[in-house]
Amino acid sequence: METIAIPAINLAPIMPEIILSCIAMLLLLVNVFVPSESKGYLGVLSLVGLVATAASVVSGWGQPVAAFGGAVQLDNFAVFFKLIFICSAALAILISDKYVVREEINHGELYPLILFATVGMMLMACGMDLMVIFLGLEVLSISLYVLAGFNRGSLKSNEAGLKYFLLGAFSTGFLLYGMALTYGATGSTKIGNIAGFVATNPQVATNSLFVVGMLLIAVGFSFKTAAAPFHMWTPDVYEGAPTPITAFMSAGPKAAAFAAFIRVMIVAFPTLKHDWTDLLWILAVLTMTVGNIIALSQDNIKRMLAYSSIAHAGYALVGFTACNPEGVAGILFYMLSYTFMNIGAFAVIVLIGKKGEANGNVQDFAGLGQKRPLLAAILCVFLFSLAGIPPTAGFVGKFYLFSAAIKSGYIWLAIIGVLNSAASVYYYLRVMVYMYFKPSEEDFDWVGMTPAIAVCLLLCVATTLVLGVVPGTVLELAQKAVQF
């Protein structure tokens, strides 16, 4: 009997994932075999691994390279998003060391889990097959379920982990059912082939099996991006999870969900574009409005930032609804800038917090402006950026998204977006009011800076301001990334 012919293997497109998984596994073993109490060296090793992965990712810029029979494709879109994920993982690791020591969490597994989550995200970004995307999503999600409940001693963290798991599994069901229906209607899970099948058999496009499949896939992804009405897990999970993990969750997975969402919708369902842009219109409006309005009455700052991340997902959905190259490039830019400004804000929250997640309310920021002016100023930069005030990256991102929407003719959507942005200024500036205008007895002497958090803050502030003042280069890169 002859040997089965092996198709050509090209590992280069998934080299970043391979590298990162190997390093994560290595860390797992190192953690178990090296019996020291402090696990800081694991953080350093994971950062080194992330840097190596980033180098491998960057080398993929330029021509798209497919592998595994077209199931995976490393193109500019994937490279851009992978870099966002790596940045979010690195920043989250930077701000985690102080937190885990303070909360006395046994944190050897934290780093491998974050790295595995990053691997999942990277797969989602470059997957061209529904199964690969699902695989990436599951790897990501399971790592996140564990990470959300990482602080075993805290009731809230356990609650967060369990809720995330239950609702995540629930939504995965929808997603998988949708993928199954789509497969049933078109006979393939490769998203390119799906579109090709519909092109040759146009009657499939009106087939309810196909449409419902698309809708359910959209619902599944909407859960991950926390679009209303599938957003309800976000506040509880973000509030309960350990703060560095919340920071990670708000940036990386959201971007990954957008990456997969965009790719699937645009490549696999171009004929149904009219339908899903209508759906996205409604989702965008609902998401922005719900996120911003409920955030107005939040006192706990993590919960407030959770609602704000819902709102920001809404803004990104505006760009998605526009569905022109500017809109999608805007989403890429926005996700990048959002990563930095949000994780930066969370970094400051980590610093201000006390053991047992005390000091988590907005009122606890009172007096920070006088006692720690530099820290307060840094937080102000992030808050301004989140609110979308020039000359920060948040403003440029929002501007780009809304102008893309207007270009596509969605004037009302842009107006609603701007109104929501205006409303959001309230709850961001409320923190600043407390920092600068309310007196406080606190002297904030437990707020100690570690080198890691200092580096993180520096990077985030620098990126936020630089992207706000000279966004040209990154915008160009984003535009180049959108041609898939």
């Binding site: 419902v212 309800m232 759906l279």
Partner: protein, 669 residues
């Protein structure tokens, strides 16, 4: 040296930065004052260099433009940061930097011991910077930047003693009135730019380019509009009717400020501006007539008020308004050179007068302080007999007064006489010329009168001070008297470069250097007047000119004699006069109630409107809407947040509901 023209405004700017940022830390007065003064002296040196270089160039080529960079380029609107050096701007640069340096030096002594010493010099340097921008800018917008800058610095310096309510009020009044004028300036700027651009596709606000396209401006109509708009700006900045009332109040500021800003430089900006835009004005006899009439009327009006004032600085203030009226009168009859000439000589003797009055006030203040008296050191009725105690101040003050009165041999005579002669003989406005001349002549009479009244009341006669106070009077230190001496010398010699031809021939063929110097700048206008206007510049007999000159001298001497009679010979006559005509005296003393009229017509209605808009509209309507909307949104938030129940099954239910709705909508579409 021409290449370095940009250094001229740069030096004072550096002074501003150093004194402004670090002045509070540098406690040493000499250092702060020294930096500020050296900055202006540096500018003066560069200006001298530029002047000499210009002199060495032949007449037609005496212009140089240095563009630093393009500031605004928006469609067809282009504005550079650039500097224009030509004879006119060279004159202005010399005056501003020269007189400015002397006043900076003077201020070091005058402001000694003042709290906020560094603030004063910062503002003074900032003013000098703005004024230099104004006179050397090569386009209307840059000039406007300087225009606004000097207005701002005027406000800052008038309100320098901001603890006094009257000073703050005076500063605001100056600024607001200036603003009204600036509105006119901007209208003129845009009308000019739009007219040339829209009709001839010449989109420029650069002076030389505008002048080269002067032929495109038709006579009358647009030219009148532009001219009047710009003149509105000039009335604000140069304190003419109707926007002059801020200048007397501006005497609340320190005396060197009054000397620099409100005598020598800022208030002359309007005259300079008309000189720059002469090619527009010449196209509109109407605008020129308005300018001349307003100038003449102001000259007379202010002179009348000056006769009844008792505060030494107020008299000088009204004198300034009056002399500015002369300058505008000159510009209005087409005698641009004469106007600029009077600007220059006026800068010398008026600065000298103000600085001298500062010296007097300083000494009076010191003396009165010693005897713990509350008497006003600026009130002339408390002075008298100061000449024995303050000889240098007296001598320089006297020289400057003789100059302003228009006695031959001193600077003021040449310039004033030139103006009166041009007003009489220039047939630009027909019969009105005689009226204008008459206004000028009567004003000259009154000028001589009230100026010598001031000198007699202050320096001559029995002193009204107590023995002890009088004993404590002494001459001011050198840092104050040296500028006085310099300016007094200039008040004598400064006029000789502008000697009228008539006199020059008598004195051995001395040409009118000044007129010759400024000829290229006003060449266009002079040509236009000669060719286009009927009967313009006809030849007049020298006899007429000599006759008028004699009349001027006679008028001046009458005024002096009158003052002598009233204040030296029989000092009781003024009191009898005022008690005989109490209403007239009160009206003149109260400045003809102009301030009260303005309050009634403009200030109080504006305040009422502002109050209504504030309480009625802003608080109720605008705030109501804004707070109302915010309140509603917050209310929604309070309701919506209960949707987040915390129960997982509720969340799952929400998701299912959402999915069902979405699918149903699409399937049943």
């Amino acid at each position: 040296m021409l290449e370095y023209v940009w250094l001229i405004p740069l030096f004072p700017l550096i002074g501003v930065l150093i004194n402004g940022l670090f002045g509070k830390k540098i406690k040493n007065e000499a250092v702060i004052g020294g930096i500020a003064t050296l900055a202006v002296v540096g500018s003066f040196v560069v200006a001298c260099g530029i002047l000499f270089q210009l002199i060495s160039m032949p007449g037609e080529e005496r212009h140089f433009e240095k563009t630093i960079f393009t500031w605004i380029q928006s469609g067809t609107f282009k504005a550079d940061i650039g500097f224009l050096v030509d004879p006119l701007s060279a004159v202005m640069l010399m005056v501003v930097t020269g007189v400015g340096s002397l006043i900076h030096l003077y201020s070091i002594g005058y402001m000694h011991g003042e709290e906020g010493f560094y603030r004063y010099f910062t503002y003074l340097n900032l003013f000098t910077f703005s004024m230099l921008l104004l006179v050397s800018g090569n386009n209307l917008l840059l000039m406007f930047v300087g225009w606004e800058g000097v207005g701002l610095c005027s406000y800052l310096l008038i309100g320098y003693y901001f603890h006094k309510k009257s000073a703050g009020d005076a500063g605001k009044k100056a600024f607001v009135m200036n603003r009204v004028g600036d509105f006119g300036f901007l209208l003129g700027l845009f009308t000019m730019w739009w007219f040339l651009g829209h009709n001839y596709n010449v989109w420029t606000i650069n002076f030389r380019e505008l002048a080269s396209h002067a032929d495109l401006i038709p006579a009358g109509g647009v030219a009148t509009a532009i001219g009047l708009f710009f003149f509105l700006g000039a009335t604000g900045k140069s304190a003419q009717i109707p926007l002059y009332t801020w200048l007397p109040d501006a005497m609340e500021g320190p005396t060197p400020v009054s000397a620099l800003i409100h005598a020598a430089t800022m208030v002359t900006a309007g005259v300079y501006m008309i000189g720059r835009m002469n090619f527009v004005y010449i196209k509109s006899p109407t605008a020129l007539l308005v300018v001349a009439c307003v100038g003449g009327a102001t000259a007379l009006f202010a002179a009348t008020i000056g006769t009844a004032q008792n505060d030494i600085k107020r008299v000088l203030a009204y004198s300034t308004v009056s002399q500015l009226g002369y300058m505008f009168l000159a510009m209005g009859v087409g005698a641009f050179t004469a106007g600029i000439f009077h600007l220059m000589t006026h800068a010398f003797f008026k600065a000298c007068l103000f600085l001298g009055s500062g010296s007097v006030i300083h000494a009076m203040h010191h003396a009165l302080h010693h005897v713990h008296s509350d008497a006003d050191p600026q009130d002339m009725r408390n002075m008298g007999g100061l000449r024995k105690k303050m000889p240098i101040t007296f001598l320089t003050f006297l020289i400057a007064t003789i100059a302003i009165a228009g006695i031959p041999g001193f600077a003021g005579f040449f310039s004033k006489d030139e103006i009166l002669w041009q007003a009489f003989s220039n047939p630009l406005h027909g019969e009105v010329n005689i009226v204008l001349w008459a206004f000028g002549a009567v004003a000259a009479l009154l000028t001589a009168f009230y100026m010598f009244r001031l000198v007699f009341m202050t320096f001559f006669g029995e002193t009204k001070l107590s023995e002890k106070a009088y004993h404590h009077l002494h001459e001011s230190p050198a840092v104050i008297t040296i500028p006085l001496i310099c300016l007094a010398i200039l008040s004598v010699l400064g006029g000789y470069i502008g000697m009228p031809k008539l006199l020059g021939e008598v004195l051995g063929g001395m040409p009118n250097y000044f007129e010759h110097w400024l000829e290229p700048v006003f060449a266009y206008s002079n040509n236009y007047m000669a060719h286009s206007l009927p009967g313009a510049h006809g030849e007049h007999s020298p006899a007429l000119e000599w006759g008028l000159m004699g009349v001027s001298v006679l008028i001046a001497c009458c005024g002096i004699a009158f003052a002598y009679a009233l204040y030296i010979v029989s000092p009781t006559i003024p009191e009898k006069f005022t008690s005989a005509f109490p209403a007239l005296h009160r009206a003149v003393y109260k400045k003809w109630y102009v301030d009260e009229i303005y309050d009634f017509c403009f200030v109080n209605p504006c305040k009422a409107l502002g109050g209504f808009l504030w309480k009625g509209f802003d608080v109720v309507v605008v705030d109501g809407i804004v707070n109302g909307v915010a309140g509603i949104v917050k209310g929604f938030s309070g309701i919506l947040r209960y949707s987040q129940t915390g129960y997982v099954h509720n969340y799952a239910y929400g998701m299912v509901l959402g999915t069902v709705v979405i699918v149903a909508v699409y399937v049943f579409r």
